[in-house]
């Protein structure tokens, strides 16, 4: 059985963002990490690998620095890595990204593909499903529970209002992972050491990039602080008093 997990390296969301010169956020002074949703994907893929003995490839598109994040995926248990080298991946749209991945995967016959439900920086939630569509695979999104047995995958989708839907799908298939799907493991030291030796091939993006861009980002900016918000600062006692005053004046809650 062959598995693929797609990951993305994103900035840590605690970072202070600045607008960059190329119309994206400035990449300086940012801390980088694996997209949180993808961590659940890697963990689930590794669990399936442990269950079935399958071969697991991790794929990531981006500049040279994303290899650090790929090493974490390898240390969690992926067998090999494919790095699609692209310094401008952040300027490509979801469709281009998806078609690059699909181009790579097209002849590889993966039985199961894992992806994060969305990325923390763009949050478009498109690439995973688009890859499935381009490859003609069944896809299920927003998975918070996963089980594989006898060629069938049974998942629970997380819907709004705390509702979950149980869905069954056969292989080959693609699933996109929601937060809380599992508890991503902390890589053990022997696995970190082994990861350094695992195959990590770099493929130039030009070899796989054939799709045209369908949309463009006109600008990125900071959201306007919706004005009108009163700021209360200073000693806690005084804040509490002022707040109570405002609640009395502006709401009926303390009547």
């Amino acid at each position: 059985m062959k598995l693929l997990v797609c990951i993305k390296q994103v900035p840590d969301m605690e970072s202070k963002f600045k607008i960059g010169a190329d119309g994206w956020y400035d990449r300086q002074d940012l801390a980088w990490r694996m997209n949180e949703y993808d961590e659940y994907g890697v963990e689930q893929a590794v669990q399936v690998k442990e269950q079935t003995g399958a071969d697991l490839t991790v794929l990531c598109i981006g500049p040279e620095q994303v290899k650090e994040t790929m090493k974490k995926a390898l240390a969690m248990g992926c067998d090999r890595g494919v790095h699609i080298a692209d310094d401008k991946s952040h300027l490509k749209d979801s469709y281009e990204i998806a078609s690059i991945i699909a181009e790579f995967a097209r002849d590889k016959n993966f039985d199961l593909i894992f992806a994060g439900m969305q990325s923390q920086d763009r949050g478009s939630a498109q690439v995973g499903v688009m890859v499935a569509e381009l490859l003609g695979l069944a896809a299920v999104t927003t998975v918070v529970d996963f089980a594989y047995a006898d060629g069938k995958v049974t998942v629970k989708r997380e819907l709004e209002g705390g509702v979950k839907a149980t869905v069954e799908v056969g292989l080959p298939a693609l699933v996109t992972c929601q937060l809380g799907l599992n508890t991503p493991r902390y890589p053990t030291l022997p696995n970190i050491m082994k990861a350094k030796k695992k195959e990590l091939l770099s493929v130039p993006v030009a070899d796989l990039h054939m799709a045209a861009r369908l949309q463009e980002t006109v600008k990125i900016e900071f959201p306007e602080k919706k004005g009108g918000g009163i700021f209360l600062e200073g000693e806690v006692e005084s804040i509490a008093d002022r707040l109570i005053g405002i609640l009395k004046a502006k709401t009926a809650v303390l009547a």
């Binding site: 970072s15 202070k16 002074d29 902390y186 022997p190």
Partner: protein, 679 residues
């Protein structure tokens, strides 16, 4: 007394009579017989007993050999000197006065009796037998006799005292096993029979002689036997003599297999003590690809010294009494950790150490060193716990809770466990006029809390203002600084620690830094000790020492504005680095009158955040920081001064937990001094 050779008595040059002068001495082997009938069995039994002793230790040697090699035999003379000092002066035992004094006196008494018996053997079976040389006579013998009598009396008194303590007073947590019954019973019997034997002899040979006074205890007992018939006394004496000998040999035989082994192991353990920097952990070689396992999962992963430690333990529970986790109902007892390791090593070396000791116990440790510091047997508790943590983290990816795993991930991503963007690490210092590292006198290493935590940023700013008042040019690494790695290391994540350390060292060396000052004892201890293994060689100083130097040099002037306070010795400046006086000096200079807590200096009680536990939630037992806040409140002062960001954070929380935040304010020494800078 014995009659010497007859000598002539002269009057007016003429011998009037021959007199036998009575010598102050006694006949060794009196009544027992000095011939082969005595010597042969005596030496035979002794040889057997010694053989059993040696064999017993050889068997235990097999257990110690299960452990990994470790270098603890360098500087043998210094080590031997330390061992003799510890044993003969009972220095570590005496650190707890009550039972410590009782044991010391008992030990000295028994030791003197042992030497005395040795001297008797030397004379009776060697010098007298082969060379007719007798030295146990005259004044020497008088001193010898009274010394041994008093020694025996004191030994019995102390032993009885210890017996009462163990079985009548019953201090909580003191376990008594069959070993203890054997030890107390056997030793008491040996001592008492010794006196009865002496008394029986004196009752026949020494009553109403001047020598008797030199064996006062024997004399008193002999008087009680005065009415008994001489035949009975002779039989009693001879029988008890052989009984006493057999008991003494039994004592020797039992040494390897009971707690009596501490006579050998505890003393020897002092020889094998760690003579390196206090509390320095072993730096794992993570490059070696042949290493299959990290940390301690089995006894074979510990060192032979670790296993020897388990034999040196006498279950005195001094460690447990001082452990902050033990005394707040957490399942960690340092004594039990050692006991479990010993059991596994002796009975089932293939078993999992971690299962035997227990995960909750392993994770509860704050590495405060109170256990190791007080242990009279020189046992090293902390290293074993960290080795087990290393196994859990590095081999299993296990942590005490998800919050700790998250903190580790944050350390990897942002270089601080708080999850804040690394790029803003230096923002606290904006506008303070700091220099660049190339143009500074010192590199100030505030650490994660000093850089990101609001309460501790105030301390960092205070420190900077003190430096600037003294004309010291200060630089920080700002966003280039990463966590020193200490909490990760103490939690067992050696890999993450070495990664962070390597980055910090490269940055520091890249700037050609000559001197680093820290306001965090954990950073101080790590940079000044742990980082040396990884190549850091510049000077590192903690802020109380640095500020004290500035004041001594007249560069920093501070007004003495009187106030009362108490002072908390942090574990990492105190027990780990012996820095107790410079902070007190600073406080006094600032006008502070320190009302010491009961547990101060080496006996200080941990705030709970060490051992990487600053990253974890305290879920078991009662809160350590609340307990310490209450100890501070008991001094009656309103100010709790400390020198560590973890302690400060714990105390701010602790005073709230104890409901005393109005009456007890936690402050760092730097803040107090900064408020008193002379204008």
């Amino acid at each position: 007394m014995i009659g010497g050779p007859p000598s002539a008595v002269f009057v007016d040059g003429k011998v009037i009579r021959m007199e036998t002068v009575m010598e102050f001495t006694r006949e060794i082997y009196w009544n027992v017989g000095h011939g082969a009938a005595t010597l042969a069995p005596m030496y035979l039994f002794t040889a057997v007993a010694l053989a059993v002793l040696v064999y017993g230790f050889l068997r235990r040697l097999k257990i110690y050999r299960l452990g990994r090699p470790i270098e603890r035999t360098d500087q043998p003379l210094a080590r031997a000197a330390e061992m003799l000092r510890t044993m003969l002066l009972q220095t570590r035992v005496l650190r707890v006065t009550g039972p410590g004094l009782a044991h010391a006196l008992f030990f000295w008494g028994f030791f003197l009796l042992f030497i005395g018996t040795g001297l008797i053997v030397v004379q009776a079976d060697f010098t007298d037998l082969f060379f007719d040389y007798v030295f146990l006579k005259g004044t020497f013998y008088k001193i010898f006799s009274v010394t041994l009598d008093l020694a025996g009396l004191i030994a019995i008194a102390m032993l009885l005292g210890l017996l009462v303590r163990r079985w009548v007073v019953r201090p909580p947590g003191l376990e008594s096993k069959s070993d203890d019954v054997i030890m107390h019973g056997l030793l008491l019997t040996i001592l008492v029979t010794g006196f009865v034997i002496e008394a029986a002899r004196m009752a026949v040979t020494e009553l109403d002689t001047p020598l008797a006074a030199w064996s006062p205890v024997g004399l008193a007992v002999a008087k009680l036997m005065a009415g008994t018939s001489p035949e009975l006394l002779l039989d009693l004496h001879k029988g008890l003599w052989w009984f006493h000998l057999l008991l003494a040999l039994l004592f020797i035989v039992l040494i390897p297999s009971t707690k009596l082994r501490h006579i050998v192991t505890t003393g020897v353990n002092a020889f094998f003590a760690d003579r390196g920097p206090t509390g320095k952990l072993t730096t794992l070689d993570l490059e070696n690809e042949a290493t299959e396992s990290f940390g301690a999962a089995k006894v074979t992963d510990l060192s032979w010294k670790d296993l020897f430690d388990t034999d040196a333990c006498t279950s005195c529970k001094r460690c447990q009494d001082r452990c902050p986790a033990s005394t707040t109902d957490k399942p960690l007892s340092p004594m039990q950790v050692i006991a479990r390791i010993g059991e596994v090593a002796a009975q089932n070396p293939e078993a999992s150490l971690i299962e035997a000791v227990g995960r909750d116990a392993i994770w509860s440790c704050t590495t405060c060193r109170a256990c190791q510091d007080i242990c009279p047997a020189g046992i090293e508790h902390v290293g074993k716990i960290v080795e087990m943590r290393r196994n859990l983290v590095l081999m299993e990816g296990e942590f005490p809770g998800e919050e700790v795993m998250t903190a580790m991930e944050q350390l990897e991503v942002n270089g601080n466990p708080l999850g804040l963007g690394y790029a803003s690490r230096g923002d606290w210092a904006e506008g303070l006029g700091l220099s660049s590292p190339a143009e500074s006198d010192i590199l100030y290493f505030p650490g994660c809390y000093g850089s990101f935590d609001k309460r501790n940023i105030a301390v960092a700013k205070s420190f900077v203002s003190l430096c600037q008042a003294a004309g010291v040019r200060v630089a920080i690494l700002g966003k280039e600084e990463k966590c020193c790695g200490e909490p990760a290391r103490k939690m067992g994540n050696e890999y993450l620690y070495q990664t962070l350390a390597a980055e910090n060292i490269a940055t520091i060396q890249g700037y050609g830094v000559k001197k680093i000052v820290t306001t965090c004892p954990h950073c101080f201890n790590t940079l000044n000790k742990d980082y040396r293994d990884l190549g850091l060689d510049c000077e590192v100083q903690s802020h109380p020492d640095f500020l004290a130097d500035l004041i001594a040099a007249g560069r920093l002037l501070v007004d003495g504005d009187p106030f009362a306070c108490t002072y908390h010795d942090s574990c990492y400046l105190g027990r780990h680095n012996g820095i107790y006086d410079s902070p007190r000096g600073l406080i006094e200079l600032a006008g502070g009158e320190i009302v010491e807590m009961a547990k101060n200096r080496e006996q200080s009680f941990c705030c709970s955040a060490g051992g990487g536990r600053i990253l974890a939630e305290e879920k078991l037992g009662s809160r350590i920081n609340v307990k310490r806040a209450e100890m501070a409140a008991a001094t009656g002062t309103n100010l709790l001064l400390s020198n560590c960001p973890f302690c400060l954070t714990m105390f701010e929380d602790g005073v709230k937990g104890a409901g005393i935040e109005e009456s007890l304010k936690p402050r760092d020494i730097a803040e107090v001094l900064a408020a008193r800078i002379q204008a």
